[in-house]
Structures are given as structure tokens and as C-alpha cells.
Amino acid sequence: MSDAPSPAATAPGTPVAPPPGARIIAITSGKGGVGKTFVSANLAAALTRRGLRVLVLDADLGLANLDVVLNLHPKITLHDVFTGKSSLDDAVIAAPGGFSVVLAGSGMVEYSRLTPEVRNQFLSVIQTLAPRFDVILLDTGAGISDVVLFSVSLASEVLIVATPEPTSLTDAYAAIKVLAMQQQRQHIRIVVNQTARPGDGRAITSQLQQVLERFVTTNSGRPLRLIHMGDIPADSAVREAVMRRQLLLLHVPGCPAALAISQLAGKIEEALLTRPA
């Protein structure tokens, strides 16, 4: 691991200076079970197809399940790296879609409480890996815990996954509110999963934006801007792929949800990775 200096004691979620190298995108949600890990894995595959070097880091330290979605049986996980049993290089595993993953492993339950040691180790893992990739997706846990806030704080961009259900919207709103107030974010990107018809996601984003403008004042005084990145339509192929533990983009690349994820990847590349000449 790198000899990164330990970060100063900060409130959980106070942004730390982003490590150089890859663009780091945190994928999070207020509520669990909205398809965060599904989106992370398939978005990674879609970005890989566009020629980018992509890493997905399982940042859900307590309840990691990226390995389940990708049907991987890792021998070496972040847990081994944190305990010094393995080197970080050995924990970087090739995933089916052509991208790399670092899995948290089930032994990480003990890390679901964020101690300064875990924080420093996590930071050092990201600092070491960042120069080797173009994009790092942080698949965070659901909800608003200090582990989630900390991993989100390492990312330059936040992508919230929500579904049109009222519970998911309420929790997404709560998460956005906390991120706006605590991390002084200027914007947060949002993708709406399992939409019933075109336009649902845009309407939901605009509604969230209006409530934010009315109720949330940020330190800068400017309201946080939500950027709608697209919808992923409800699609029976998604359920099948998840049950078979396959990547949707590899096995049913032509289905509506897969096409939507490819489009999302294009939008992300355009927004984040195309630097002005």
C-alpha cells in the first residue's frame, strides 16, 4: 500500500482532496435494493466497452454483494488487504465484463463501523489504485452511515440510484439533502431505475429539485443542482440476468435496460471524461 499521509480528523463525509488519476464516481442511494450494485456492474461493463479502464470498488464494507452480482468467488478481498494478509495487487480481480473489481468480502462486517484506521486504509487503497484507471466506481452501501458518507466524500461525482417508489424517493431525497449540506456538493447526478414509461425519471428529478430548492439551504447559498443522467426502464431481462448472476450487458445486450445503461455510460463519459483540448 502507498505511504499516504493520514488525513486530518474531519467530520464524516467532509470531502478529502481527491486522489490524482481516475475520475472517482460514487454510486449510492438512500434506500437499499434499488439496483445500486446492478447499475455499478453493468455501467462498468458499458464504460469498458467505450475503451476505458474501469475499476469497481465494493465500498459497502458491511454488506458487500458485488461478488454475488458478478458471480465471482474471490480468494482475496479487501479484508485480506486491510489485515495485511495480501497485497492490494492480488485483490484486484478481473470481472466478466472486462473491467476490474476489488471486493470487500464478507469478513468486512467488522469494518461497518468507521474507525480512523479503516478510513486511512480505505483512502490509501484508493490513492494507490487511482493512477491505474480512468474511472473508479465506488459501489457504496445504502443509507446514510459514516462509512457511506466517507466513501462518497472520496468521489468527485455522485450518482444516486433511485426507483420511482415513494420510499426510495424519500430516502434518495434524505441522502441528497445530507450530501448537499455536509459535503458542499454543487451537483449530484441521478439515474432512475425501473421506470414505467419515458419521462418518469425526468419528472422525478425535477420534483426532487423543487423540494431541495425550497427546503435545503447550502453553505454556498446556491441550491444544489440535480442532473438527470437517464432512466433504466423496468425490464424482465434484468431480473433474469440478476437471478442467473450474469451481466445484463454481456448476455442480453439488446434489451431496453441494457441499451439505457449503454446510453448512461455515454453520457457519463461525455460529462466527466472528455476534457477540453
Binding site: 480528523a9 463501523r113 468507521l114 439533502k177 455536509q182 419521462g199 419528472a203 427546503f215
Partner: protein, 278 residues
């Protein structure tokens, strides 16, 4: 071989069941009272530490006397001798307990770290006995500023800590401000003709239900804010902004109103698509 528990009966040796085994270390209620001769115990140091009379007052049962001694020693081991406040050991225990309580009850708790400004100057100019007087005076003033349920501790040197259970975000800043103001407006008399005006800097951090904090992280955060208060010029309060993750009924109403008709879950038919085109 007979049962050892009851020497007179003729039962075979008694086999302890698992439940009985776990009871062995505690004294069974039916056991005859243990008699201890106080003369067999080395109590001199304990008695001297507590500053009590050499002998147990006549008429006090030995058990009661011993209990009083033990209670006194426990109290002694949890207090700072100079100021009488909780010491580091008790502070740590209170903090651990408070984190557990926050997790269960959901009520936020506030930790304040306070540091006397330019204390070294007091020691260097007026001597250490004067410094001690300042520490005691500040401790007394602090004790008058907080609720009985709050824990005041001497964290070390001229640094103090206050743990405020069930402290809502809206009140934390007011409490800390009141403490700072009271200290600043209460001069400390160190001898018959010298009065010192003392100020403190205060940093504060919350333990929140969703933060799942740990004691080192919580104190770290509060300490960080204390340093900020110092850096910003001392005699001031810096409290961590507490992001509010609750969603009020009003917010929910506005969030759902246009999106869902009362006809039920997921019905987006009343959505105003024109409104959203931006």
C-alpha cells in the same frame, strides 16, 4: 462418595448441570453469610486515601463499612483529584455508553471539548498554584452551566469535556455559547488583589444515530473543531454542522404531491411532464 453439596444425604455425587455451573461464581442467596474479620484486611491505605477515621464507627456492621470503603475507592478512581470532575477513565466509559444509547434511542448526543485560552501564560506569569485555582474555578463554573444528566470531565491539562445526552442540534450551539459566555464573564480571583479574566475555546461534535461513530472518531471530530475555534481567534464556539437527514411531512407532501395520485403506489399518471422539461 457422597454428594458434596449436602453431606448428610446418600445420593450419588451430584453432577453439575450447565445452568448451575454458570451460577458458581456468584454467591448463592441461600449461602450462609461470609464473615470477614476486618483485622485480617489491609485497609490502612484505603482509609488514608479516603481520609476517614482509622476505625469503623462503633455499631456499623462490617459489611456496610466495607461497602462504604469500596464505594469511596470507586468514586476516587473516577474523579480528577484537582477539580473533582470526572477523570479520563470515567469520561471514556460515559462516551462508550452514550454511543450505544444514541444507536438505540435515536436521540443525538453532543460532545463538547473546551480548552482554556492562553493557560500557559497564567502558569508562567502567576505560578502553578494560581493555574490550579483557575482550573478549579473553571470546573466550578462549568458545573453550574450544565444539566445534572450531563457529564463534565477534565480531559487533561487545561482541556475539559462535556457529554450532553439527548441534545438536539438546535440547542447544542446555545448551550456551548452559554458556557463560553459564563466563563468569560466570571473573573477568577487568584489572590486577594488579583483577578484574572479567563476565556475558553469550545469545539463540539454530535453522535447521531446514522453516524455509527466510535469514541476515538467522535473525540477526534470534537477536537478538530476545538482547534478550529482556537485558530479562528479563541474565546469562541465551533460546532459541527449537523446535517438533518429527516424528511418532514411538508417535504414529503411536496415531493409526492404531483407524482402520485391517491389511487396508489407507483401511479405516475398525474405527473406534469411539461413542468419537468428542463
Amino acid at each position: 462418595m457422597r454428594c458434596r453439596r449436602c453431606a448428610r444425604c446418600r445420593k450419588p455425587p451430584h453432577r453439575y448441570t450447565r445452568a448451575e455451573l454458570t451460577l458458581v461464581p456468584s454467591v448463592p442467596k441461600t449461602a450462609p453469610p461470609l464473615s470477614v474479620d476486618l483485622r485480617d484486611l489491609r485497609l490502612d491505605t484505603a482509609v488514608a486515601l479516603l481520609g476517614r477515621g482509622e476505625r469503623p464507627p462503633t455499631g456499623t456492621p462490617p459489611a456496610q463499612y466495607l461497602q462504604r470503603l469500596i464505594d469511596g475507592l470507586c468514586d476516587l478512581s473516577l474523579r480528577d483529584p484537582l477539580t473533582g470532575l470526572a477523570n479520563r477513565r470515567q469520561f471514556q466509559a460515559v462516551l462508550e455508553r452514550e454511543i450505544d444509547r444514541v444507536t438505540r434511542s435515536g436521540e443525538a448526543a453532543l460532545l463538547l471539548m473546551l480548552d482554556i485560552d492562553h493557560f500557559k501564560h497564567v502558569n508562567d506569569t502567576y505560578g502553578h498554584p494560581a493555574g490550579d485555582k483557575v482550573l478549579q474555578a473553571v470546573a466550578n463554573t462549568l458545573a453550574r452551566c450544565v444539566r445534572p444528566m450531563d457529564t463534565l470531565a477534565r480531559y487533561g491539562g487545561e482541556e475539559f469535556a462535556v457529554v450532553l445526552p439527548a441534545c438536539q442540534a438546535a440547542f447544542g450551539k446555545a448551550v456551548a455559547e452559554r458556557i463560553r459566555r459564563t466563563i468569560a464573564t466570571t473573573p477568577v480571583r487568584i489572590d486577594s488583589n488579583t483577578e484574572l479574566s479567563i476565556t475558553i475555546s469550545v469545539g463540539g461534535a454530535y453522535a447521531l444515530q446514522w453516524i455509527r461513530s466510535t469514541t476515538p472518531l467522535w473525540t477526534d471530530r470534537a477536537d478538530h473543531l476545538l482547534y478550529r475555534a482556537k485558530a479562528e481567534g479563541r474565546n469562541r464556539v465551533c460546532i459541527e454542522e449537523q446535517p438533518d437527514s429527516t424528511v418532514s411531512a411538508e417535504e414529503k407532501g411536496m415531493l409526492f404531491g404531483p407524482l402520485y395520485t391517491p389511487s396508489g403506489w407507483g401511479d405516475l399518471s398525474s405527473m406534469n411532464l411539461n413542468d419537468s422539461a428542463h
